[in-house]
């Protein structure tokens, strides 16, 4: 440390010492004794750092360094340098667009924040509806694992220019040689794209366009073609119906895209109009669960029952067979005839003849419900052409295959034939959003953008022309099908310009493009309908149908699509995988549903394990030489002799390991028939671990949780009647008098006179259990995904769940007493579900109790009551004792057992940069160890209040919304301010159907349920 250098701090100090002296006098009271330290040369030279000093320095620096390291990580947020015109930070922009992914079609609104789409909601002006899958599609946009990012040739990245040049040259040479090429797409339902494709096929006459639907409804389109001369699906206006008879048509879910909105519109007990709905079906479907009467019938018998009904109605005598339910069929026939044109018959059998018979019945009834003029275009798949394509490929007749957003290598029943034919192709090009098995096998894989990044137009029914617009810059190096085809056709127009002029020329009838784009849709006039002379012979159709059904043997397999995964396009979407099936409440799985009777005979069961989870046995099912090992879920209401198995699962290519769940049922989907006869089953060893969010299936005699009554009682009986009332309040004993529980109170009321007071009304009559609200809540509130293992042990994080209850073998304690059951037997009877149970759905979220049990028990006051009625959760303050959750009678509080974001153990959307883009910036991502729950979307209500305040007005009537209420297709969930007398919810809160769950506890919830009314004629 020796030194004799002179140190100076400024030039002045070096040259003019007088200034320095003056300054130093001002600056320091004392001289700094530098001389003392540095002046004595000898001391300096002799000095050294001792061991002790060294240790001191090491100690200090280590401590300082580690202290400095304790600082939290800094995340920089960079403001806009040049602010884009249409983006105001913190203010959401909504765009109207359309979703069309080949299976799900919807007119939607997309919420974007700072340029990122974060939520999809139905475009209600366009009569749009959303399902769980449509809601969840927002997350598939950010699927960095599955999406194609760059154009590739045999797996190597290639530039668009090179790809265009190479493919263009090849197409040209194939065209010159007149070798057939096929463009295989899913249903596009896009007029402009159809035009582009026809121009493309005109430019290359050797190219043929084939439409392929993974899950086909070609039976109905073929029947429509034969009977009405239109390749389309009929529309059903169920809101006008008085009687609905369905043979396995799951029309509240995926049958023809779903009709739940019009169905529920026709079931409003307060208006007096309520359709009577009878469902004959084998699988317990969402539709069957909602039916007034559900008749269990295996698929082959459904055919005969349909024919018997046809005979009854038309008086004809086509060949059929007796079924166990002929009495019901007879009764329905007279019911249908009585209501004549106000009744309708549907069938879900994907069979041209079955559909023809149903059409004929509707014709005979002169049904106004079925609409064959304003038809649906959402299933255009042509099974015959697809089958022809495969055989042509196999025989080497096809030279080139261009696929667009289809994955036949996963979805075809005869993949082997396809693959064989595929290897004989000279050119294979996959234009695909996802990197699927087909894209991987193709010579060229060209990424197409997600629908949220695309321009486009849609035509789902005959009058609603929808527009699709990008809501974000493309995330990857993608190009739309339309642009690609235009380019390959030698047309240099951009698709956007093409679309604009196409719409202006052919669609908008002189209307403004900007208005149409703003609205997201344009309503066209239906136009003249051509008359069509049908030459179809119904007798032939009926006899063909009957003879094919008579061949039925062995077990019958009814393939279906689940509410969560549909045809499996979004199998890599963690929200949908974690979404519990509305019926079985199982997530992350598909399974063979089996009737209780068959399960008993074949030795299958679903024991509940000590950790609360359900296990299942494996079955090997085989059909036509194909076999698969699949876990069995015993399903009450399943027809004996039939099984159900969901399509859309078991996809593996390109999926994250966690998402590779379930078994692929497509190999059994021979001839695109959703019913397969002659299935053999065998129990095999092994135990499957299910992840169900609900284990107990019945209400266990606690009928004040779930109130259900019949339309007749609703009309004729006083709801509060002491004996027969269908909405009796809870009574308590007070001063030895029986009084209504709500007349006495332990607590002081909150003052609700000023400001808003939010209520949420849930109509159990209207709720079909579709679960769109569950996913909407996921998206709005950044609810984490926890994975199969955690769901299995009861740790799903859903703020909003839909409880599903089956009726039990004995419904009430009184019944049990009459039957003379002992107490133990009574409990068992109340806990055991009936073989063909009635099903009730009950959305359950934080009830926002005005006397909340959770609020009193939190030691740190982390959960408190809001001025507007909400029960609020302060995450920052929560220490995580979970006392609140234990004291919540509704068990709606969810605990962060682990860190769910930025944790490789939970490698879902909150663990990668793309997936995090979907997070709602208005809602904090909760850390480990804190409790969370439904907030009544306080970020949305506050935004509404602030908006009104800025605009200097009062909040409008019914302006308040939550994510669940705006996602609700059927209007079951109604949110609003009960301090505003005009708000819809105010009347609902006072309705005679209104009740609170567990009202005997007097928690005084701000969530109100409306008693479920069923139109059970027999009752």
């Amino acid at each position: 440390m020796a030194s004799n250098k002179k140190y100076w701090k400024s030039v002045e100090e070096l040259t003019d010492s007088s200034i320095v002296e003056t300054l130093s006098k001002n600056e320091f009271v004392e001289e700094i004794p530098t001389d003392k330290f540095l002046g004595d040369k000898q001391t300096l030279e002799n000095s050294s750092t001792s061991r002790r000093d060294f240790l001191k320095y090491v100690g200090f620096t280590t401590a300082a360094a580690s202290l400095a390291a304790c600082e939290g990580p800094v995340r920089k947020s960079i403001p806009y340098v040049v602010k884009p015109n249409d983006i105001i930070a913190g203010v959401a922009d909504w765009y109207a667009t359309s979703m069309a992914d080949g299976y799900d079609f919807a007119n939607v609104l997309v919420k974007t924040r700072e340029g990122r789409p974060i939520q999809i909601m139905p475009n209600k002006d366009a009569n749009g509806t959303t399902t769980a899958r449509v809601q969840a599609a927002i997350l598939s946009l950010y699927d960095e694992k599955l999406r194609l990012k760059e154009p590739t040739k045999a797996g190597e990245v290639i530039s668009w220019a090179d790809a265009d040049q190479e493919i263009g040259a090849k197409l040209l040479s194939l065209s010159n040689q007149n070798k057939p090429v096929v463009l295989l797409t899913g249903t596009l339902a896009s007029p402009s794209t159809d035009k582009i494709i026809s121009e493309f096929t005109n430019a290359y006459p050797n190219i043929k366009h084939v439409v392929y639907d993974a899950v086909s409804e070609a039976g109905a389109t073929e029947a429509m073609m034969a009977m009405y001369g239109k390749r389309a699906l009929p529309n059903y206006h169920l809101n006008k119906a008085k009687t609905i008879v369905s043979f396995g048509a799951d029309f509240l879910a995926d049958f023809h895209g779903g009709f739940e909105k019009s169905y529920v519109a026709g079931r409003k007990p307060e208006t007096g109009h309520m359709s009577y709905h009878v469902q004959f079906e084998s699988n317990m479907s969402l539709t069957g669960a909602n039916a007034d009467k559900r008749v269990v019938l295996k698929p082959s018998d459904q055919v005969f029952a349909l024919l018997n009904l046809y005979n009854e109605i038309t008086g004809s005598n086509v060949s059929s067979k007796a079924t166990p339910v002929d009495a019901d069929v007879k009764k329905m026939a007279s019911e249908l005839k009585k209501n004549g044109s106000k009744s309708v018959v549907l069938t879900g059998l994907n069979d041209k003849n079955a559909q023809l018979v149903a059409f004929a019945i509707n014709e005979a009834l002169n049904s106004e419900i079925i609409d064959v003029n304003n038809t649906l275009n959402i299933r255009q798949g042509n099974d015959a052409e697809v089958a022809q394509l495969i055989s042509d490929m196999k025989s080497g007749k096809v030279a080139g295959l261009l696929t667009h957003n289809v994955d036949p290598m996963y979805t075809l029943a005869n993949v082997a034939d396809f693959t064989e034919g595929f290897s004989k192709l000279e050119l294979s090009v996959a234009l695909s959003t996802e990197n699927n098995a087909t894209a991987d096998a193709s010579n060229y894989a060209l990424p197409t953008p997600h629908f949220l990044e695309s321009w486009g137009d849609t035509q789902f029914d005959s009058i609603t022309y929808g527009l699709m617009q990008p809501t974000i810059q493309p995330l990857f190096n993608t190009r739309q099908l339309q642009d690609t085809l235009l380019k390959w056709s030698g047309n240099s127009t951009k698709y956007y310009d093409y679309l604009k002029s196409f719409a202006a020329d052919s669609i908008l009838e002189g209307g403004s493009w900007n208005t149409a784009l703003h609205n997201g849709f344009f309503t066209r006039s239906l136009g003249e309908q051509d008359t069509f002379e049908s030459s179809v012979s119904l007798a032939d159709a009926a006899s063909q149908l009957s003879s094919s059904a008579k061949k039925a043997s062995g077990f019958e397999l009814n393939l279906y699509t689940t509410t969560g995964l549909g045809d499996g396009k979004q199998a890599n979407n963690p929200w949908l995988q974690e979404f519990p099936d509305p019926i079985t409440r199982a997530s992350w799985d598909n399974y063979l549903t089996m009737s209780i009777a068959d399960a008993k005979e074949l030795g299958f069961s679903n024991p509940v394990k000590d950790n609360g989870a359900i296990n299942g046995d494996y079955a090997k099912i085989s059909l036509n030489g194909k076999e698969v090992v699949v876990p069995v879920m015993v399903q009450p209401g399943q027809a004996k002799g039939s099984f159900g198995l969901a399509l859309g699962y078991g996809k593996t290519f390109g999926l994250k390991e966690e998402m590779q769940v379930g078994v692929n049922a497509y190999p059994f989907y021979a001839n695109n028939n959703n019913v397969q006869y002659g299935v053999a089953i065998e129990k095999v060893s092994g135990t499957h671990e299910f992840a169900c969010t609900q284990v107990q299936k019945t209400i266990a005699g606690r009928h004040d949780i779930l109130k259900v009554t019949s339309l007749k009682e609703y009309k004729n009986v006083d709801p509060k009647d002491h004996h027969h009332g269908w909405n009796k309040p809870a009574y308590v004993s007070y001063d030895h008098q029986e009084v209504e529980a709500n007349t006495i109170d332990l607590w002081d009321e909150h003052n609700r006179e000023i400001g808003h007071h939010f209520n949420l009304s849930i109509d159990l009559t209207s709720c079909t259990g579709c679960g769109a609200c569950v996913v909407a809540c996921h998206a709005e509130n950044n609810v984490p995904v926890v994975g199969k293992k955690e769901v299995r042990v009861g740790r799903d994080m859903h703020w909003l769940r839909i409880d599903r209850y089956y009726s039990s073998t004995v419904e009430t304690r009184e019944d049990a007493k009459e039957l003379g059951l002992s107490r133990g037997e009574m409990y068992e009877a109340l806990e055991t579900e009936a073989e063909n149970p009635e099903v009730t759905f009950q959305p359950m979220m934080c009830q926002h109790c005005n006397h909340a049990p959770c609020e009193t028990v939190c030691p740190v006051a982390a959960t408190t009551h809001g001025r507007q009625g909400q029960n609020q959760m302060t995450y920052n303050r929560c220490v995580g004792t979970r006392y609140c959750a234990n004291n919540c009678p509704y068990r709606v509080r969810r605990f962060n057992w682990f860190e769910y974001a930025n944790n490789n153990e939970f490698d879902f959307n909150m663990n990668n940069e793309y997936g995090k883009m979907v997070l709602n910036p208005d809602v904090v991502v909760r850390g480990r160890g804190v409790m969370e729950k439904c907030s009544m979307c306080i970020q949305m209500t506050q935004a509404t209040i602030l908006k009104a305040k800025k605009e200097g007005r009062a909040v409008n009537t019914d302006e308040f919304e939550t994510a669940c209420s705006s996602a609700c297709t059927t209007g079951s969930l109604v949110f609003g301010d009960v301090n505003n007398k005009e708000d819809k919810v105010t009347a609902l809160a006072e309705d005679k159907r209104a009740y609170n769950v567990l009202d005997y506890l007097q928690t005084k919830p701000n969530v109100i349920y409306q008693v479920k009314i069923k139109n059970t004629n027999e009752a």
């Binding site: 000590d610 609360g612 409880d803 209850y805 939190c858 220490v879 006392y883 682990f898 928690t1003």
Partner: protein, 487 residues
Amino acid sequence: MSHYEAPIREPLVLGDKSYHDITEDIAKPIEGKANKNWYMAFYISLAAMLWGFGCIFYTVGTGIGVWGLSKNIGWAWDITNFVWWVGIGHAGTLISAVLLLFRQKWRMAINRSAEAMTIFAVFQAGLFPIIHMGRPWNAYWVLPLPNQFGSLWVNFNSPLLWDVFAISTYLSVSLVFWWTGLLPDFAMIRDRAVKPFQKKIYALLSFGWSGRAKDWQRFEEVSLVLAGLATPLVLSVHTIVSMDFATSINPGWHSTIFPPYFVAGAIFSGFAMVQTLLGIMRKVTNMEEYITRLHVEYMNIVIILTGGIVAVAYATEFFIAWYTGSPYENYTYLSVGAATGPYWWAFWSLLIFNIFIPQLLWFKKIRRSFIWSFIISIAINIGMWFERFDIIAIVLSKGHLPSTWWRFEPTFVDVGIFIGTIGFFFVLFLLYARTFPVIAQAEVKTILKSSGEFYKKRRAQGIPTKPTVVVADKEIKEVNPDKNKKE
């Protein structure tokens, strides 16, 4: 000092102890070397403790998810263990405070260890409310500390907050009480210590006790005052713990009889644990002549009494659940639903260990048998654990909405932490047994002449009880034929 005591009362100190003998006996484990058994027990306990600490670190580092809890069952082993340990801690105060006020002399042989057990048990109990939190690093938020977070304050409505006060008060009063009693004994050890370091330590621990009359007077006064202060705590602590459940709205928890029932249960389990510990300790530290059959019998009588109260409480719970006719009471932890449901084994364990087995104590032979008392005490410890487990797990497993019915299965971490606290408890107790005077020798000396076997016999024989000199003592020994007879 010595009061008259009826000759029919059994002696509380066996053998012909002199004051010096007592000193020697009590000081021996501290001054001597530990045997192999002690080391073995210590290392096993230490290993269990370290394993438990490992599990605690794992929990704190990873998340409560490493336990077996779920959305529907927010507490299980954590709070079970908490209540179990708090309950065990109850006997100490009862023995030292309530029995002091009632002038029960038999307490003197056992109060020191009972209080030690109390304090160590409360340590274990206190761990759980902290580690069961999702964010234990913020545990201090449950204290009403002035802070700069804004207007944040604790919620005085919450029974958990009452717990914080109850447990901390209990721990501090128990600790002071215990230490006060220890002062003369520490001083005794100090005075006998030969190693300077040991002397220094015990000098510190004895707070400069000098043995003057004034010291003794103050000692007696403080003891009495503290006993008065501690007596309400015997009732309050478990009353408040029971309110964690009783003030909630879960069927099976929401029960007005919980406070007295929990207090009785706590004393029940506390005495059982004292039996367990002393059963071992009297052998290991050769205290057989101080902790006698009579002590064991008296404790068993307390166990029968409190066990009876608990049994009546169970019966009441069962009856009321049935009598309400409410479907929500079908599955409370004492109901037909619980007896036949998935937790039938826990239900029957509770009844067998807590109700049926303790009934054996009605037989005098069993009540006065060391080995039977030991076995029954273990059964009660298990039974009382099940009581808390049943109350928490069974009730939470069948909540109001059937859709939320679930089950609990512990993970290795749940088990590890529980075993860890048992290890921790025994580590503390074993260290205590080697370094603290395990019997309040100063107090025992006060009853030697009234309740000592030798003196009682002499009184019965009409021989003067004041031995004049040691020589005389020897002479008497010779005329005492029972002197060397062992039981």
